[in-house]
Symmetry: C2
Subunit: 110 residues, 2 copies
């Protein structure tokens, strides 16, 4: 089987492809942003810390669903929680997530 691109180009490509661990981390991270419910939650938390009840009421999503998605977001290190009495407040763990969303908005030209 012949190569269609020349060997030098191929070497360059091979050299610059990120390692598998990086690729997996990246795609796993993006999949955390790849659902409307979660995107909504992230946007809301970018504005203000909130508890599950408020989030689900304001965003008009089922409380259980909200809780499930928050767990995912927490696993992805996007969101953190803090307890105050019986209320658990959620907020963004790292403001850099906003840069990601903005880059997406830029790309899509929204």
């Amino acid at each position: 089987m012949e190569n269609l691109i020349d060997n030098d180009s191929e070497e360059t490509v091979v050299r610059y492809i990120p390692r598998n661990a990086t690729l997996y981390a990246l795609s796993e991270f993006f999949s955390a942003c790849s659902d409307v419910t979660r995107t909504k939650i992230i946007c809301a938390l970018a504005i203000s810390e909130m508890c599950v009840t408020d989030l689900s009421r304001i965003l008009e999503i089922n409380q259980t669903t909200c809780s499930h998605q928050l767990r995912l977001l927490r696993a992805a290190d996007i969101v953190k929680q803090r307890r105050d009495g019986k209320i658990i407040y959620y907020s963004l763990k790292n403001r850099k997530i906003e840069d990601v969303l903005l880059a997406g908005v830029e790309f899509l030209d929204l």
Copy 2:
């Protein structure tokens, strides 16, 4: 049922949540980046335009799978194609996709 956050904050949140169309567009876009195979392809194409055969050989993925994923990426407007004889060359449609990946890398601190 009582509100747990005050009314002013709630109004602010409601006002700043992007419209549904925006949220859908964003999450759909991120889901295009949320698979290892596709991330791999995007990274490769960021380095050099390539055809399906080379992509699949170099990235070590099944050619059919590669083709399927390229179709998705094309539908997401991330990738474009150009025909030269019987070979179809794929490349990034918009370099801003690299900023998105970089924002992801920044976030993950990779």
